[in-house]
């Protein structure tokens, strides 16, 4: 007899439908799985047969063929186990009728159902194809509940699933969950604990308000890392669509916490400088999102940027430009979004003491040049704001002045972001950093006075031509922050102060 169960598998962060067909016919007692499965898929036959037997059902004593269609796509992983087992139960007549559920899950030998990665993207893809009912592992229930307009049934064991399909047992569908960003979050890293650093803090607020990439330069212990850890706390909360996308990415990568279901906090990723290129960009044999994608909608923090390998840094150029990364491998090409804010830090020189009043810098001129040259011009061109962080003096540390809490700053940032979203509604971009040359012409017109001051800055301070559009974008953000329609002289002056 023949049965057909629908299941879904991942290609990048999108799901596609896989028909699990099972045929049981006379012949040699043997089970075969066809349809370009990897080792995990091939091994499923042992997990499935053992799980069926251990759940108290019988495994057919004849030839069993399991086919995963479409057969031309390579299938990976264990998420077809449950669908195969249920298919065998149908084909062998142990469950009667037709299966109207999409079934996803991994089997343990005892018949228990284990969770799988990427439930949310799978379900969203299935919903888009009109699927209504799902059977998923219990541990994935929370995550699955965030997809609206469908019925999700979660099961713990194969026997429970079979009883449910036979109509012998009732399972209530999962309650659909409402997305609610955590408004009253308690921040571990809050700007109110950062003393002094007026300039750096302001520069960070400007950067976050306009979505600009930022690099902090300062000697060791000046507080670069602390400042950057505070950044997610002042970013606006994730919108539902963003949250779904972030959750999908983390779900696919397997970094999702099963207990939270959906990600509500903007990600903060800080890969160590020994990171390999593939770990940053994504890819690998079983294609996984890399750090740039895991930082999607959040912050990618590269501490001690010149310590990363040159090659690794250069690969960031295209993702920074396109906000997505296309990973092409011989057998598949996938695309992951990666719209992140780059926050980098570096020392002013290899020993870290250049410009410090207390310590002598021991680096030679050539060493400093070599250190700085590790960051290529095209890469630096993508970083709009450069700010120096100077070490805080002891008096400042002990002074009992409360700094402004992150929550206050976050409120302002949110308003400025809203202004930008409104302005760019018809342009298909979200913030000032996304502006292209056309947008610059349209939205960054300068009056005579600010044009004059910009000209002065270029002539007297030796700004490069590349700096021009960077200064304009940042000036636009500063104007937005002070609620002005047009860019004024003061905005340009401040933008120039965040120059290289």
């Amino acid at each position: 007899m023949l049965s057909r169960i629908s299941s879904y598998a991942l290609l990048g962060i999108e799901g596609y439908r896989v028909d699990v067909e099972v045929d049981i016919s006379g012949g040699l007692v043997k089970t075969d799985i066809v349809g370009m499965g990897d080792t995990a898929v091939k091994e499923a036959k042992d997990r499935v047969s053992t799980a069926i037997l251990n759940s108290g059902f019988s495994y057919p004593h004849s030839r069993v063929i399991v086919s995963l269609a479409p057969a031309y796509i390579k299938k990976e992983g264990t998420s077809f186990d449950l669908a195969m087992a249920i298919g065998i139960m149908y084909a062998s007549g142990q469950i009667k009728g037709e299966c109207e559920y999409v079934i996803i899950g991994e089997l343990a030998l005892g018949g228990e159902i284990r969770g799988v990665h990427g439930i949310l993207p799978l379900i969203i893809a299935a919903r888009a194809r009109g699927e209504k009912k799902f059977i998923v592992p219990r541990v994935n229930a929370l995550e699955a509940g965030y997809a609206e307009g469908i019925e999700v049934y979660s099961v713990e064991s194969l026997s429970q699933a079979v009883e449910f399909l036979r109509g012998e047992a009732q399972i209530l569908p999962e309650k659909p969950r409402q997305y609610a960003p955590n408004e009253k979050r308690v921040l571990r890293h809050d700007f109110k604990y950062v003393k002094g650093q007026t300039k750096a803090k302001r520069a960070i607020e400007v950067a976050v308000s306009g979505g600009h990439n930022i690099i902090m330069i300062g000697s060791a212990g000046a507080g670069k890392t602390m400042l950057s850890r505070c950044i997610p706390g002042i970013m606006p909360p994730l919108e539902y669509e963003e949250a779904l996308e972030v959750t999908k990415l983390h779900s696919v990568a397997g970094t999702l916490d099963m207990n939270t279901g959906i990600i509500t906090e903007r990600p903060f990723r800080s890969p160590h400088h020994t990171a390999t290129t593939v770990s940053l960009t994504g890819g690998g044999r079983m294609s996984k999102p890399g750090e740039v994608s895991l930082a999607h909608c959040g912050v990618l923090f590269l501490d001690e940027m010149p310590e990363y390998s040159r090659h690794t840094l250069e690969t960031l150029r295209q993702p920074l430009e396109d906000k997505k990364i296309t990973i092409a491998r011989a057998n598949q090409t996938v695309e992951y979004p990666c719209n992140f804010m780059l926050v980098a830090s570096m020392n002013p020189c290899p020993c870290g003491n250049l410009g410090s009043p207390d310590h002598e810098c021991r680096c030679s001129h050539a060493e400093i040049e070599r250190y700085r040259a590790k960051l290529s011009k095209p890469l630096l061109d993508r970083i709009d704001i450069e700010v120096h962080v100077s070490g805080v003096k002891y008096d400042e540390l002990t002074a009992d002045i409360a700094a402004e809490p992150s929550a206050e700053i976050a409120k302002r940032v949110r308003n400025v972001r809203a202004v930008q979203a409104e302005r760019y509604r018809s342009d298909g971009i979200l913030c000032n950093d996304d502006m292209n040359e056309l947008h610059l012409k349209k939205y960054c017109a300068l009056d005579m006075e600010s044009q004059a001051v910009l000209k002065q800055a270029f002539e007297k301070l030796g700004l490069s031509a590349r700096a021009y559009s960077r200064v304009l974008k940042v000036a636009r953000t500063i104007a937005d922050m002070s609620g002005e329609e047009t860019i004024k002289r003061g905005h340009i002056v401040e933008a120039v102060s965040y120059r290289r």
Partner: protein
């Protein structure tokens, strides 16, 4: 013409030859023509001194090679003076071993002009750079030639500030004149060749070696009438120059530095050893060397027209002079808000009065 001078030039090209050997060769032959027309004899004669120099000798004592060498000199604008000739710069005799041949590019009159050596560490503080510029401005104005070593840091500041102010400057470079070191100073090298004097102890193609740096310090002192140490760390090469100055009986001047600063350890201890080297202003040095009387006022910081500054700008300048150079410190001291201070600093920077340096620090 291959005369007596050319013989000196020819002999100087045998690397590693000692003074004693040189004089023997010079008494053996009358002119370069002599030596080159009887190449076999001169080769054997020269090789007696050291067997291992045979290959060098046969390369150097060769009419074609020698002619090519002299042609290259003139086509590159490099001149030379040999120790026997009357136009050999007299000042070089102050050195213990004056070179047989000296190569130069530019204005040779500067050899005999009143000059002061301005030296300091390559790694220096913004104070050091500031002082270098301040002193060199006055030297340039009073027509005193500034001699230095074309290294980074203080040397570079001394040369470039002097040229900027229309003064004359001499650079004693470490290697041959065809090798610009450090690379960063290529532009400065060209400017000095045009408006000043470049001096080298080695033939132009000689690559730079470590030992040449302390060697040229002796000649910075020799060319100068006095040596000013701007800033020197504990083991700075500038201290070697100071030693030579004392040995040669030149006047030594040292600018006092901050006791906390590692960049001034060497220069401050020089003052302790030799209190008379202490200087307060360029006028001290100018009147000393040029033997003219100058008032105390010779050395004001570059005249900033304080009256033309706005109230805010005056406040910022006050804070900077008090040593509050960091953005936050200035904000506290001037009680200005972030934006006003940013504007003011920008204005001052545009006017060229202050400069942003590493950290959020500004210097006058």
């Amino acid at each position: 013409m291959l005369g007596r001078n050319e013989l000196y030039l020819l002999v100087s090209r045998v690397t590693g030859i000692t003074a004693e050997e040189t004089s023997k060769v010079l008494s053996e032959f009358e002119t370069a023509e002599d030596a080159l027309s009887d190449m076999e004899r001169s080769k054997t004669f020269l090789s007696i001194f050291a067997e291992q120099r045979k290959s060098i000798v046969s390369k150097v004592v060769n009419r074609d090679n020698f002619c090519r060498f002299t042609e290259n000199l003139s086509s590159n604008g490099v001149y030379y003076r040999t120790i026997n000739s009357d136009d050999y710069p007299k000042c070089l005799f102050a050195a213990e071993n004056p070179p047989t041949v000296i190569y130069y590019k530019g204005d040779e009159k500067l050899f005999s002009a009143p000059a002061v050596g301005v030296v300091g560490s390559r790694r220096c503080s913004s104070y050091g750079l500031d002082m270098t510029k301040r002193f060199c401005r006055d030297f340039a104005a009073s027509g005193l030639t500034v001699v230095s070593g074309l290294a980074l840091g203080i040397d570079t500041a001394a040369h470039s500030e002097t040229l900027k102010c229309g003064g004359k400057t001499v650079a004693v470079v470490a290697g041959g004149l065809n090798h610009v070191y450090p690379k960063e100073n290529e532009g400065l090298y060209g400017a000095i060749a045009e408006n000043g004097l470049l001096v080298s102890l080695y033939s132009p193609e000689t690559p730079i070696r470590r030992f040449m740096f302390p060697m040229r310090n002796e000649f910075i002192s020799a060319i100068s009438d006095g040596v000013l140490i701007v800033e020197a760390g504990a083991n700075s090469g500038a201290l070697i120059t100071a030693d030579y100055a004392k040995k040669q009986g030149k006047k030594l001047y040292v600018i006092p530095g901050n006791l906390n600063s590692p960049f001034s350890v060497g220069s401050n201890s020089l003052i302790k050893k030799c209190p008379s080297s202490f200087v307060l202003a360029a006028s001290d040095i100018i009147s000393d060397i040029m033997e003219i009387e100058l008032g105390e006022c010779g050395n004001a910081p570059e005249a900033i027209d304080e009256d033309s500054l706005s109230e805010d700008e005056k406040l910022v300048m006050q804070a900077l002079r008090l040593g509050l150079t960091e953005f936050d410190e200035m904000m506290q001291a001037t009680k200005m808000d972030y934006f006003a201070l940013t504007e003011t600093l920008f204005g001052l920077e545009i006017m060229g009065i202050i400069k942003k340096v590493a950290g959020n620090n500004y210097v006058v």
